[in-house]
Amino acid sequence: MRELKILGVVIFFTLVVYIGVEPFAHSQMHPHVAPANFNFQEESIDYATEEVKKAEEKLDEAKSNNKNVEIAENQLKADKKLLDSTTTFWNEIAKIDLSKGDATKGAETFMNAGCVGCHGIKSQGMPSPMDDATASASFGVVPPDLSTAGKLYDGTFLAALIKDPVKALKVEHKFSETKPHPMPQFFGLGGDMNQELADIVAYLKSIAPKTLKDEEVFENACQRCHDIKYAKRFSNTEKGALANYMGSTPPDLSMMIRSKGKDYLQTFINNPQKQLHGTAMPRVGLTKESQEQVINFLEDTGDRKKEERESLGMKVVGFMIIFTILAYLWKVKIWREVH
């Protein structure tokens, strides 16, 4: 009885320490963020609203401390402006009726829109117009081949991307009129622009494969920037140009699954700004399915032995339980003589 009481005390204090240094400390270090949302209109507006709220709180705090009030005021102004432009932009996008998109017309629109000046579509016999070195030097990053874009990316996101890459990719803090994004906005070919956008999206969807392997998703969505050397895949963009374009070399993603964990990756890939405010990585706009595939790929690369670990674990723990029971019986037998 006394031993159980002592055991209770030991377990209690161990648990307090554990909870304090793990779940509790981590909740303090990494503030909670809203879960990933694949409705990109909602996600963009919610995020901008959240930023305004934060800026308001900062301002209140600055006012009560009477410190850095002006900085906080400017921040709030900027965040409000961003919320306005974000709302306007996505409300415009909402008017596009993707269901009316016509793939045949889209093919023509696509050709006329100039996309192939930068992007290849290998599956349609159109190789990329530049070699990697030239593309790296011209844009800072090699524009991705668009054969799979219709499968990888959400349709509404694609329309938004074509209309205004900076807004769709959420890199407003990096680009401006004086420092334009390497992928130009599409201003329409003179007809109904929303129809033209819907057509291009329909075209991209029509040529996209029905299914992709996990690693193909990675190759098409991430590999223009990131290496993942444990999977022996390396970015086709030149390192120096990329670092210059992004402000830093994008990290190798081999061990990301262990260093960041699934939950973080879910929200980060869906909207990098939410986890790393001000980061240069664009929001790439993957559908839920593609994102799951990328994360699976990261897990297969960085935590390849997970299954083996979990199944072996059962056996080892089971063995130890049996050992412990036998040891207990032996102990009882031995101590019967002395008690």
């Binding site: 031993e3 260093s259 960041k260 032995k305 674990g313 412990t324 032996w330 101590w335 003589e337």
Partner: protein, 417 residues
């Protein structure tokens, strides 16, 4: 020269040459342990088990690890974790055992403190125990550097920097320890040497001395009763096993230890396979990058309390800089447990629940160290800094008060019996 006869068997052959029968008696069957003990007295054997796991898993890791800043990270995270059959298992076992051993060391230490097992002839047990704690800390610190992840690098940077605060020789000392101006390849290689050679050797020697120092005073018991071991062991050998207050180390004491070790290993292997993040910090799966400071730098959980004593003093007092006060306090925290037997001025051995003031002191110390541990990890912002400060000051005051409190207890109880 001993008389050597024709051996009656292998056992006898060895006995004639090595006195194995006598040795077994001395070490096992006639090494006496009090009967009145609880599972906390099995912690020593649990430590031996964990230390063995560390050595064995370490040897396997050593076969593939490369102590070079360019190769270290990949040799661990790719070669060992992915290419070598069951390499991940050795790494997880090693990492989790390193963390679990500290949990058991702390339980072991607080058991010693609670039952007063550090005085009246048991000082050497305590001192060698504390030496082991010091060496294990160094072992853990040097081992944590080896994967050359972000936390390896930055913890090494921060901790080696501390030595710079030592007056006069500080700056030169930091460079001497690192073998370079910053933490770099020479630092990794020398910490590798420490981790796989010098420190384990020292630890093994210390464990032997620790065991040997138990020999004369014997281990304590739940009631701190002063047992006449000769009398009690005679009783046992005469067959009065139930009446005797002692039991032999083998098989009686160890039979219980096997059970406790088994139960602990169930828990340990559960952690190894399913719940290892607490011991293998995710941030360390990011390669070391001297250009990118992590948002939060913190040591492993078992160093947090002393780290918080260091950090707790966050403001300057007169001519003394916050950093220097913190460093002095940190030094204090790291040596004060060493002199514990000499701070306790109550000459009698008794469990804390029979020492009115010491009992309160004991639980306060435990709570204070837990508070320090938790706040050692939290970002030092707002209210956290003040709580950390109060806990750090309390820690020092508790030790300043210890001699007076124990003296007072001694007077009031007239020497506990």
């Amino acid at each position: 020269m001993a008389e050597i006869r024709k051996a009656e068997g292998i056992g006898d052959w060895f006995d004639q040459r090595l006195a194995t029968k006598k040795l077994t008696k001395v070490l096992m069957t006639e090494y006496w342990i009090p009967k009145n003990i609880n599972f906390l007295w099995a912690m020593g054997v649990v430590l031996v088990v964990l230390f063995t796991i560390l050595i064995i898993s370490g040897i396997f890791l050593l076969m593939y690890y490369k102590p070079d800043v360019k190769l270290a990270f990949d040799s661990v995270n790719y070669t060992i974790m992915q290419e070598v059959e069951y390499g991940w298992l050795w790494r997880h076992m090693h990492g989790v055992a390193a963390s679990a051993i500290f949990l058991v060391i702390y339980i072991h230490m607080f058991t010693g403190i609670y039952y007063g097992s550090y005085k009246k002839g048991r000082e050497m047990i305590w001192l060698t125990g504390m030496a082991l704690f010091g060496m294990f800390s160094a072992e853990a610190f040097s081992g944590y550097m080896l994967p050359w992840g972000q936390m390896s690098y930055w913890a090494a940077q921060v901790i080696t920097n501390l030595f710079g605060g030592i007056p006069v020789i500080g700056d030169a000392l930091v460079i001497w320890i690192r073998g370079d101006f910053a933490v770099a390849d020479p630092t990794l290689t020398r910490f590798f040497m420490l981790h796989v050679l010098l420190l384990p050797l020292v630890i093994i020697v210390l464990i032997v001395v620790h065991f040997y120092s138990l020999r004369i005073p014997h281990v304590n018991n739940q009631e701190s009763e002063d047992i006449d071991f000769d009398k009690e062991s005679d009783k046992y050998l005469a067959g009065n096993k139930k009446e005797s207050k002692v039991v032999p180390f083998w098989p009686v004491f160890l039979s219980k230890d096997f059970f406790v070790s088994g139960a602990f290993l169930v828990f340990y292997f559960y952690l190894t396979f399913y719940h290892f993040d607490f011991a293998m910090d995710p941030i360390n799966f990011e390669p070391a990058n001297p250009m990118k400071t992590p948002a939060h730098i913190y040591p492993e959980w078992y160093f947090l309390w002393s780290y918080e004593v260091l950090r707790g003093f966050f403001f300057d007092v007169g001519p003394m800089a916050a950093m220097d006060i913190g460093l002095a306090a940190f030094g204090f925290a790291n040596v004060i447990f060493m002199v514990f037997p000499f701070l306790d001025r109550d000459p009698n051995v008794a469990p804390a629940h029979r020492r009115p003031k010491f009992k309160i002191w004991f639980w306060l110390l435990l709570i204070d160290m837990i508070v320090l541990t938790v706040y050692g990890k939290l970002p030092p912002m707002g209210i956290n800094t003040y709580i950390g400060f109060v806990a750090a000051v309390s820690f020092i005051l508790l030790f300043v008060a210890l001699p007076f409190i124990t003296k007072c207890d001694a007077k009031h109880t007239g020497g506990v019996k």
